[in-house]
């Protein structure tokens, strides 16, 4: 239509400038105008939807209030709830009920606009491990309900707490990974395919594990934060970055290179897992039992094997210190993960971390998978399957 009008205008009003310039400029203008149409059109559409209140007219409903409890911190005699309004409408917290009784409270900001956050502090004589049910009553009478399943004092950033979390991180990830790495294969070239298949099985299981954990946590985040979107952002972003990194060194495929990629993927996984464990410890949902740390430790020993296996393809490098570095990259990220999760309550970060881990591990699975597929056989298949089985069984312990 635009073109047609342009043409008719030209016939009525012949060009005055040099012949060839005018049509080129017109075409360029037309292209520019067409490029602007979607933006302008979208602007008009949004304006109609927002100012015309069209959606409300159609549904006839009232926007539903939604608030997520992002973090809970417990001090002796006091509960603090960190809230975010993740719904479409402003929310005012008018009263607080704890265990079916109104309780005096203070709110940093009783009226929460969309996506804003506030902290509600309630003096309450809670007891260790006795569940506490908190219900926030909004100005419209709606109830935001939150259960603190097993209350315990929230760790604060004291050096002792940092040290304790670091110890847990070392015990559950760094040390087991390093120990697993000690099983450096003195394997013959015949067995290389089987060893790589074993690694592939471990990694494939970790990929499923990271995805399941990440999506499980994503489901717990408020609807407005779109936890699945956060996970996808982390996973697909990491996949792209890892693919790019691998292509940089293409043609120089070596066992050490592959070991590095595996180590980084596992390191990201442990970062995400550390975040998740730290966050869970912080919000008092569970008390960390020694059995749990033991379970993680055994489970993560196999991650060391996953790093060690690729080295069988090229042999152990001359400089042994590099192995220490690889182990550190794979295992140590659990420590900052625990710090961040345990001290700040990083539900969103845990989802992002596990997403990044899933993306990174997926890329490593492709790389290792290519090598394994090159040398298929019953031994490789059995090796792959037994790796998945080992991961499953050690996972049951934790």
């Amino acid at each position: 239509m635009y073109q047609a009008r342009k043409r008719s205008a030209r016939t009525l009003d012949p060009p005055t400038g040099p012949g060839p310039v005018r049509p080129v400029r017109a075409r360029r203008l037309a292209r520019l105008a067409l490029a602007c149409v979607p933006v302008l059109g979208l602007g008009v559409l949004v304006a109609v939807l927002v100012f015309g209140n069209l959606v409300h007219t159609v549904s006839g409903g009232v926007p539903v209030e939604s608030v997520s409890v992002e973090d809970v911190t417990l001090a002796p005699g006091e509960l603090s709830l960190h809230l975010r309004n993740d719904g479409p409408t402003p929310v005012t917290i008018s009263q607080v009920m704890v265990d079916d009784a109104f309780r005096p409270f203070t709110a940093s900001e009783p009226a929460l606009s969309r996506l804003s956050s506030a902290t509600v502090v309630v003096p309450y004589p809670w007891q260790q491990a006795i569940p506490v049910h908190v219900a926030l009553l909004t100005s419209t009478g709606a109830v935001i309900s939150h259960e603190i399943a097993s209350p315990s004092v929230t760790p604060v950033g004291a050096p002792a707490t940092l040290g304790m979390l670091a110890l847990i991180g070392l015990a559950m990830a760094a040390i087991p990974v390093a120990l697993g790495l000690l099983w450096l294969p003195g394997a013959s070239q015949r067995a290389v395919g089987a060893v790589l298949a074993f690694t592939l099985g471990l990694l494939a299981f970790l990929l499923v594990d990271s995805t399941a954990e990440g999506l499980e946590l994503a489901g717990g985040l408020g609807a407005g934060l779109n936890g699945v979107g956060v996970f996808a952002l982390g996973a697909l972003g990491a996949l792209a970055v890892f693919a790019a990194v691998e292509s940089l060194g293409a043609g120089r495929a070596s066992g050490m290179r592959l070991a590095w990629l595996v180590a980084i993927g596992i390191g990201l996984h442990n970062l995400g897992e550390g975040l998740a464990v730290g966050t869970a410890m912080r919000i008092g949902e569970v008390a960390l039992g020694s059995a749990l740390v033991v379970g993680f430790a055994i489970h993560n020993l196999t991650e060391g094997v996953a790093i060690a296996a690729p080295l069988a393809t090229s042999g152990v490098p001359g400089q042994r210190w590099r192995l220490v570095l690889v182990a550190a990259v794979a295992g140590l990220p659990a420590v900052p993960g625990l710090w961040l999760g345990g001290l700040t309550g990083g539900g969103v970060w845990a989802v992002l971390g596990l997403g990044v881990a899933a993306g990174a591990i997926a890329q490593v699975v492709f790389s290792v998978g290519r090598l394994v597929v090159a040398k298929p056989g019953p031994l490789a298949a059995a090796s792959f399957t037994s790796a998945v089985g080992v991961m499953y069984l050690t996972g049951l312990l934790a």
Partner: protein, 330 residues
């Protein structure tokens, strides 16, 4: 302590995001309220802030002490009392900052305390200013045509009906909307106390109307806020002034929905209990009486010494959630 495995452990991190139920029936635009979020006056009050009684259009004292005797006339030697009720929707602040979209008689919950003397002819007109059909169903003697149930004098939206019957028996009764669904019409606030005095009257006393009620603010068929006369902790914020030694008479009506049982318990004194108020001889001398839904009793009591005395439901959850008040004895 339960051992939580790695799976459950990690899953426990989330679980916080909750879509809040019930807002669809609530007000269109929640307005930020300016309640001071400081501690309440009394350490016995769990809520924070104050209810704006002026905005509600009624005060706890009015609800407790005012009676609607109707417009009185004589017809053939009989006293005729004419009452006027209007069913209207109104937002009511039931706890500080918490507004409930109530259905009301005459803009208040409970509706006016309708009072007559045994044998009076009563004429009650209901105007329905809402979008739903409503009625008034009185407990007491009356012809079937005056029952105020669907099919028998129900006011259509914008419509009007009149009920006519003789006030009997004497006692403490109630009235409420009987349109369907019944539970909704009661829970939303369409009820009130109905007192029929014996011809010879009762002994002189300081009288109080105490309607036990509660509000399901998030519409999930369980109550969030409990009260006597609608506003949580109203008589704890403003204790009821009485004199030591003076006879007190309370007309206690249980109009709590969703919870089958409520009760009233007085601290530091005992009361004569007149069940349903239909006898002038007390049934019992006690300090607590349990009441099923729509049960009501007249209680008479005195305080011996000055001081502040609590009264509350002995369903202790209700006490903590707003059904608690004080008598200030001087």
């Amino acid at each position: 302590m339960t051992f939580v495995g790695r799976r459950g452990f990690l899953g426990a991190v989330g679980g916080a995001g909750l879509v809040v139920a019930g807002a669809s029936a609530a007000v269109a635009a929640p307005q930020p309220h300016s309640q001071p979020h400081s501690h309440s006056h009394s350490p016995m009050i769990g809520t924070v802030g104050q209810v704006d009684h002026a905005r509600n259009g009624f005060t706890p004292t009015e609800l407790r002490t005012e009676f609607d005797w109707g417009v009185v006339s004589r017809e053939g030697g009989q006293t005729v009392r004419t009452y006027h009720l209007t069913a209207a929707e109104k937002e009511i602040e039931v706890a500080p900052g918490v507004r409930y979209p109530a259905w009301t008689y005459n803009g208040r919950v409970p509706g006016p305390t309708i009072r007559a003397v045994e044998g009076d002819l009563m004429r009650i007109t209901l105007d329905n200013a809402t979008d739903h059909p409503h009625s008034v169903h009185f407990h007491g003697f009356h012809p079937a045509a005056m029952d105020g149930v669907p099919g028998y004098r129900e006011a259509a939206p914008g419509g009007s009906v009149t009920y006519e019957f003789t006030a009997e028996p004497f006692g403490l009764h109630l009235y409420h909307c009987h349109s369907l669904p019944l539970r909704t019409h009661l829970a939303r606030g369409l009820y009130g106390a109905f007192i029929v005095d014996p011809r010879a009257g009762r002994p002189a006393a300081n009288e109080h109307v105490l309607v036990l009620n509660a509000f399901d603010t998030d519409f999930n068929a369980s109550n969030e806020v409990y009260a006597v006369n609608t506003v949580a902790f109203a008589y704890a914020h403003e204790p009821i002034p009485v004199r030591a030694g003076e006879l007190q008479r309370a007309y206690v009506v249980n109009l709590t929905e969703f919870d089958p049982l409520n009760s009233i318990h007085l601290h530091a004194t005992f009361f004569d209990l007149f069940r349903t108020g239909t006898s002038l001889t007390p049934h019992e001398f006690t300090d607590i009486v349990s009441m099923g839904q729509a049960e009501r009793h007249v209680i008479e009591f005195r305080y011996r010494e000055p001081g502040q005395y609590m009264f509350h439901a002995h369903q202790t959850e209700f006490t903590d959630l707003g059904w608690m008040g004080m008598f200030e004895v001087t």
